[in-house]
Symmetry: C2
Subunit: 346 residues, 2 copies
Amino acid sequence: MTTTSVMRAEIAEQPAALRATLDALLPLTDDIAALGRETRQVLFIARGSSDNAAVYGGYLLQAHSGRLATLASPSIATTYGARIDLSDVLAVAISQSGKTEEIVDTMRWAADCGARTVAVTNGEGSPLAESADVALVTRAGTELAVPATKTYTTQLAALAVLALGLGAGLDRGELLGAPDAIEAALAQSDDRLDAIVDRLVGVQGAVVSGRGMAFSTALEAALKLKEACYLHAMGLSYADLLHGPIAVVDSGTPAILVAANNGPTLPGTVALAERVAAAGAPVYAIGGGDALADACDLSVPAPDVPEWLAPINLIVPAQILTEKLARRLGYDPDAPRGLGKVTQTS
Amino acid sequence: MTTTSVMRAEIAEQPAALRATLDALLPLTDDIAALGRETRQVLFIARGSSDNAAVYGGYLLQAHSGRLATLASPSIATTYGARIDLSDVLAVAISQSGKTEEIVDTMRWAADCGARTVAVTNGEGSPLAESADVALVTRAGTELAVPATKTYTTQLAALAVLALGLGAGLDRGELLGAPDAIEAALAQSDDRLDAIVDRLVGVQGAVVSGRGMAFSTALEAALKLKEACYLHAMGLSYADLLHGPIAVVDSGTPAILVAANNGPTLPGTVALAERVAAAGAPVYAIGGGDALADACDLSVPAPDVPEWLAPINLIVPAQILTEKLARRLGYDPDAPRGLGKVTQTS
């Protein structure tokens, strides 16, 4: 068993990757604004980690820019070959490689249906970047580990830039502080994460939940745990969890809850922690301040940032947790079974 | 341990519930068409099983009516209190009780934001039905078991009526055959399902997957298995499965694949079955004809119906499987732990 991994090194590169990405993309807000004036709503096209980034983009735009922003079903384009009226739509396609054919084809289909297009990709010169009206090319550098880390957080930063360009009432200066927040998250001792790793060894399944902006983090944390630790991790929103799946939590099925340290979704997340604990399940917190920590068995604190930026650093402890748990279980976090770096679906 | 359950009785009531629902709702297509002329796209508002019905509605409308149809994030309304431009939007709120405050509040918010509204509910006279421009009240009768069965399939029928009203190029006569198809599914011997139940005893987690129209069935089957059998069942689309979670399938984590007997998503589902089997995981089929059955270890056939109607009967074997597995495991399928019949989220 190795004692470190490429994944862990790439996790540590995130502050620099974010700074480079913001430097490159913030000058593009005027181009984004021009597309925004030609459209009324946003439709995200993505899969996997990129789809989790899209969930963040959806909440960000809807809560702060007054635009409807929802997720496309790519198979409507690629499998059903349907024609849909997409005039007034800004189609935002997200793919770290920019090469996944399903995503490239769906973005081109959207354009044929009347949409304007934005690409969010780490693949400079990729088919996705070349085909879009505006390309937001993240500057994560080459990512070698299969589980996306720095390509994911730079996607979130690109979506924050998109929101600014589309007129969201948010503070550009706060966004510039995001790399420092990740640095603060990385500087924390691993002791609290190690304690959670200890409890997750031998666990078969877990529920990962969050609400609003942090729902994206819950989905992404669950995906990381599935792909690198083969854990049956179910990423669920607070509300969806209560509509059925709450039944699965028990003493052997912990819940991991994610929340910003402030904002309108925190009280509901604390209440969920209390409900899960009352059901006899272990419950662990990432973020959520003292209120959430007090309601959970173990917790990892998050830096204080505005709620709209919290997902950019809240995922970092989950990335480290995944990397540590994978190695503890004897797996190679860099190369999970059955997965390659560019996923082709059609 | 009881040898039967209310859930099983309600599963058997579905042909009659569907017939009554179609009789009541098909005369409303003109009212739906009038709303359709005032709007350009559909936004679904739902949670839990109703959200899985909305996934079906989204594929149905997008593949066949030329309208964009996506899912809302209710917390944008209820937690963030955002204002979004929803002129041109037909908001379709789905709730079996019609009393879930989050759904009622979100539909009213959508109307305040400029949307026209449709309610799909089994709750005649409920706040949801009373608040909508057009109410599609399903005729499932009282449902006592907590896991939704007949209220779910009648929601699907209501969404098929919605699609017809919105001008989808689909055959009303085919829809009238849906109750007979459920009857055929119910008339099958339980032997094949019993063989799958035998294999699922002792299993901790499973992946349930499907594509396009059948994705809704995969999500609903996974929800049933989570809520009544406490199985870590992950409902995933074919494409999302390949973007990471495919890593979790192994000899102890079977896949259950769902597909119509025909249509454009079948070849991809067969290919997925082969890939899962190659990864060493057991794989079981619901529907998909001989092509899918041949690629799987065990299978349950489905009646031959047009692909757009397949989800209405494909869920039936999964309902029976859930009820049988719950009883085999010593659980009461009618009253899972932690759940009530009307879920309140806010």
